[in-house]
Every structure is written in structure tokens, then in C-alpha cells.
């Protein structure tokens, strides 16, 4: 007996809808679960004080500050390089074998496992360049890891700017750089910003690259310079959930929640910037 094709369609569409529902529910469950269990732990003392009694009491302030430092440091290094590289690829690069090599390099950078970045950072920045285990070494490692995300999204945003904009600017006597700086970049800014935030979001949540390049188990004080080690939220969560026996679950969930909020805020702002400017755009 052949099943009527309208029935097949019904079954197929119901299956697709069910799978979509499972995906959505999984994401919602993860987020609400962490909020539900983590919120009771969060207080101003938890957020703004130093850990006490072997981290089983007190707050996570140094980890929060550390993650802020690492994210900012990564941005300072990765954004200019990434942006200029994207400008090169979109505005200057000829269609040549070498350009294809650059593209392959970017694809490859995007695929390298984060722990391999960690080893590379250890070998190059910590040992070879003798930066030691430090914020600087971690930021450099995270920056190289973040580059491919920034480059590919920024390039896409730059390429989306209509060619006629450039032609008009050049015909009015603008130089190539003036055209890029005053016409192309402002138009592509929202797209670039989205890419930068998404790249930094990844850097903020990563543990493996900072494991051997600058993350510290516990520090009695905040880092004083970029050559100090630092605590960081992801590494702290890893430490207190697997390495410290007798750790109160409340503090673990609280830390997970703070990290989650950190990346969710970045994620949400990237999404909002993208959709707001896409609606406003006139071309």
C-alpha cells in the first residue's frame, strides 16, 4: 500500500517541527536552569568581593575583572589587525593565488582547536618571547584565535557596500583611503561591529587558550600590570567545578550564571545591532 503523499508531507513537517521544538527547548532549558540555580547566589558581595576560605566563600570579583581585562586586551590587539586585513581582502586584494592562500589561511585559523592555540601561545609568547605566563600572552593568543571571525564578518560587511558608492567618491576626487575611511567604513560599521562582538564573545568564554598562557588558579589580589597572571571566569568555573573538593554548588551555579550573562549580553547586542541596522539601511 502506498501512503498518500499528503500524509507523508504531514508526517515530515510534524517531524521537522518536533525537532525544531527539541532544539529550542534544549537551549531554553540550559539558560533557565542556570538562571534558576544561579540567581540565589548572586549578590553584590558575590560579585564584588575577593574569594575567601579556599574559594568556598566570598566572591568572584578577581575572575570578573580578569575576564574584562582579557576581553579588552584581545579587542585592542585583534580589532585593528582584523579590520585592516578585512579592508585588504575586500578593497585591495587582487584575484591571485596569493590571495587564495590568505583565504585558506583564514579558514584554517578558524578551524584550529582552541587547545592548540593554547600550546602555540605557550611556545611562542610565554617561552620564546619570554612574556611569561601573563595577561599579555593570553590576550595575544586569544587575539589570533579571534582574528578569523573578525576578518570574515568584516569583509562580508565591506563587500555588501554597493560598488557605486566607491565609484562616486573616487570620481569626486577622493583618494582610495579617503573613500574607504569616509564612505565604505561608516556604511559597513554595523556589520563590522557585529563581527567584532561575536569574536570577542568567543574569546571571553574560552578556557583552553589561557590555560597555559596566563590564567591563574587563585590570586590574593587583582593583577597590577599586563605582565601579571590573572584569574578568569571560564577558568574559575572549571577550577571550582572539578578541582576543588567540597565546593558549594551555589557558588558554582552563581559563577556559571555570571559567565553566561556576560556572553549573552554580548550575543544579544550583536543580534540587535545587526537587525536594527539591516532595517534602517537604504540600499
Amino acid at each position: 500500500m502506498r501512503i498518500p503523499r499528503s500524509v507523508v508531507q504531514k508526517i515530515a513537517f510534524s517531524a521537522l517541527t518536533a525537532i525544531m521544538a527539541v532544539t529550542i527547548l534544549t537551549i531554553l532549558t540550559i539558560i533557565t536552569f542556570i538562571f534558576w540555580n544561579g540567581l540565589p547566589a548572586v549578590s553584590s558581595e558575590f560579585l564584588f568581593s575577593m574569594p575567601r576560605e579556599g574559594m568556598t566563600a566570598g566572591g568572584i570579583w578577581p575572575a570578573i575583572v580578569g575576564t574584562l581585562y582579557l576581553t579588552l586586551g584581545t579587542a585592542v590587539i585583534a580589532v585593528p589587525i582584523g579590520l585592516l586585513a578585512a579592508i585588504y581582502l575586500s578593497e585591495y586584494a587582487p584575484d591571485s593565488t596569493f590571495t587564495r592562500t590568505i583565504r585558506i589561511a583564514i579558514i584554517n585559523l578558524a578551524g584550529i582547536p582552541s587547545v592548540v592555540y593554547g600550546l602555540f601561545g605557550l611556545a611562542l609568547f610565554v617561552l620564546f618571547l619570554q612574556l611569561g605566563s601573563s595577561i599579555l600572552a593570553s590576550c595575544l593568543t586569544l587575539a589570533i584565535m579571534t582574528l578569523p571571525v573578525i576578518i570574515s564578518t568584516a569583509e562580508e560587511a565591506l563587500r555588501a557596500v554597493p560598488q557605486s558608492f566607491r565609484v562616486v567618491s573616487i570620481s569626486m576626487g577622493g583618494t582610495r583611503w579617503q573613500t574607504i575611511q569616509r564612505i565604505v567604513l561608516p556604511q559597513a560599521l554595523p556589520g563590522i561591529l557585529t563581527g567584532v562582538i561575536l569574536g570577542l564573545e568567543r574569546a571571553a568564554g574560552e578556557t583552553a587558550p589561557i590555560l597555559f598562557t596566563g590564567a591563574s588558579f587563585f590570586l590574593p589580589q587583582l593583577p597590577q600590570s599586563i605582565f601579571d597572571e590573572t584569574m578568569a571566569l571560564p577558568y574559575h568555573l572549571f577550577v571550582i567545578s572539578t578541582q576543588v573538593p567540597g565546593m558549594p554548588v551555589r557558588i558554582q551555579y552563581g559563577t556559571a550564571l555570571v559567565l553566561l550573562v556576560f556572553v549573552l549580553v554580548m550575543n544579544l547586542s550583536a543580534t540587535l545591532i545587526r537587525s536594527y541596522f539591516r532595517r534602517k539601511r537604504q540600499w
Partner: protein, 296 residues
């Protein structure tokens, strides 16, 4: 004035070029520094011991096979979960959902991509592992299966996002043609749209799997980290290559055989990810070429 501007232009263009070239430099630097620290391992351990079945650095046993096996089991498990889920989700978003819903669903799934792997690992350790231990009646919940499920969650957004783009890029005329011939909507999706987007969907799958092979923290937290090879390995602790590096690098003396060996593992990971990404992107490139041919 004009002279100064000209100088400025020259400098900025030089910088732009340098940054563009720098990506090649970074990849080369990564490879060179891995080689420099990893190659000595080949002289310190005999090939026979590298192909041995035991990874036990304290006794200088550096068999890579159990680690490869661990990565393989966990990754295959993740693929089994994430490919059908990911492709189905992409199909729903691209073909079934109305336009407005698509604008909401895509960023929503991308939230999953932004979740730090430690957060997933933490939940896996605290919630999923006990659940797996009791429901499957296993001695421990820290198994390759637990890792596979977490990795599937991490590979999912990549698969959905890339596959959805591929489905969306299929020309509308294809669908219109199929519908005009009397096919149902589902027949159109299954026999026309999905086959037309297959290289993009394959790329999505490759990239998702590539992400799964390289994942470190979540896997290290939930797979139990016992290097062993067994046919029912999915239900027992496993040790992946990434977890081995992350777990052991901190305790190793710089320059020791063990240190070099961990870099050798990193070289392996680098080569695997290189291969996966090259294949994935060349598939996409070929698909683009084919589409251009068909349209012209």
C-alpha cells in the same frame, strides 16, 4: 599638505597590506612552533611505542592510538546526534518557518554557539552525567556518550547556520518548477531543494564535526579521561587528544619527552583540522562554481 596626505596614504596602505598578509604568517608561525616543540618526540619515542595501545606517560608509554580512538568515538557519537538534528532544524528554518519566524530562530540557535564550553561542561558534569549513569545503569556517568551529547550541542549551531545558508541560496525557480509539476511541498524539499544544496549541507556537517574534534573543556570535564580502546567504548570513559593536552600540559616539565609528546598530539590535531577545513571549503567552492555555470 598634499604631500603629507600622500605620505599618510602610503603608510596606511602599507599597514593594510601587512595585516592582510599577516594571517598567512600566523598560520605558518603556529605550524612552525608546534613542529619545533613536537618533532623531537619522534626521536624520543620509538614508532612502535607511538602505535602502542597504552598512553601512560609516567612509564614513558606514549601510545597515541587510545587518544585517537577516544577522539574518534566522541566525535562519531556527536555526529550521529547533531547531523540529523542540525539538518532538520535548518530545513525547518529555511523551508517551513514563515519569514518572521526565521529572523527569530536563527539568532536564537546561534546563542548555543556562544555558550562557553565550560558552562556546558559544568552542566554535563553536574546534571547529564548522573542522569546517564542512572538511566543506562553504568558504573560511571563520565562516558564518551556524555561527551558526545555535549559536543552535539556545540556542533549543532554551526551545522544549522551553514546548512540554512546553503538551503536559502537554492534559486526559487527550482522550487517553483517542482511545485508546478505537481510535487507537494515536502517532495520539493526532499527531492529538489535538499539535493540542490547538498554540497553546502555537507560543508556544514564537516565544519560542525571539525568543531567537535577540537573541543576541549567540555569533553575533558565529562568523559572521564581514561585512555582505553574497547568496542563498547561509547558507554565507558574515554580520553580525547584535546583533553590529554589540556589535562597534562600543566604538570609537565618544559622540554621533557612528555612535553614534546603533547606538542606532537597538537600537531596531529592541527593537521586533522586543516584537512577537514580544506575539504569543507573546497566543496563549497566547487558548489559555487557549479551554480555559476548553471546560471550563465
Amino acid at each position: 599638505m598634499a604631500k603629507r596626505r600622500k605620505l599618510f596614504e602610503t603608510i596606511i596602505q602599507f599597514l593594510i597590506r601587512a595585516c592582510g598578509y599577516s594571517t598567512v604568517l600566523f598560520v605558518a608561525a603556529i605550524f612552525i612552533f608546534l613542529l619545533q616543540a613536537g618533532l623531537p618526540a619522534l626521536f624520543e619515542a620509538s614508532p612502535a611505542s607511538l602505535l602502542g595501545l597504552r598512553w601512560y606517560p609516567i612509564e614513558s608509554l606514549y601510545g597515541l592510538l587510545p587518544l585517537l580512538f577516544g577522539s574518534l568515538v566522541v566525535t562519531i557519537g556527536a555526529a550521529v546526534f547533531s547531523i540529523p538534528l542540525g539538518v532538520a532544524t535548518a530545513l525547518f528554518i529555511a523551508e517551513v518557518a514563515p519569514r518572521w519566524m526565521r529572523e527569530v530562530l536563527k539568532p536564537f540557535v546561534e546563542i548555543l554557539a556562544g555558550l562557553p564550553s565550560v558552562v556546558l561542561g559544568f552542566l554535563g558534569f553536574l546534571v547529564l552525567a548522573p542522569l546517564i549513569r542512572t538511566t543506562l545503569n553504568l558504573p560511571t556517568g563520565l562516558t564518551a556518550l556524555t561527551g558526545s551529547i555535549l559536543l552535539a550541542a556545540m556542533a549543532l549551531p554551526t551545522i544549522v547556520s551553514v546548512a540554512e545558508d546553503a538551503l536559502d541560496a537554492v534559486p526559487k525557480s527550482y522550487r517553483d518548477g517542482a511545485l508546478a509539476l505537481g510535487a507537494t511541498k515536502w517532495q520539493t524539499i526532499w527531492r529538489v531543494t535538499l539535493p540542490a544544496a547538498r554540497s553546502g549541507v555537507l560543508t556544514a556537517v564537516m565544519l560542525g564535526i571539525g568543531r567537535a574534534i577540537g573541543e576541549t573543556m567540555a569533553v575533558m570535564m565529562v568523559t572521564g579521561n581514561a585512555p582505553q580502546i574497547r568496542w563498547d567504548g561509547l558507554f565507558f570513559p574515554a580520553r580525547t587528544m584535546t583533553a590529554t593536552i589540556a589535562a597534562e600540559m600543566g604538570e609537565v616539565a618544559g622540554g621533557s619527552a612528555h612535553y614534546h609528546m603533547l606538542f606532537l598530539v597538537a600537531i596531529l590535531l592541527f593537521l586533522i583540522s586543516f584537512l577537514v577545513n580544506i575539504i569543507a571549503s573546497s566543496m563549497l567552492f566547487r558548489a559555487k562554481k557549479r551554480a555559476e555555470r548553471m546560471l550563465s
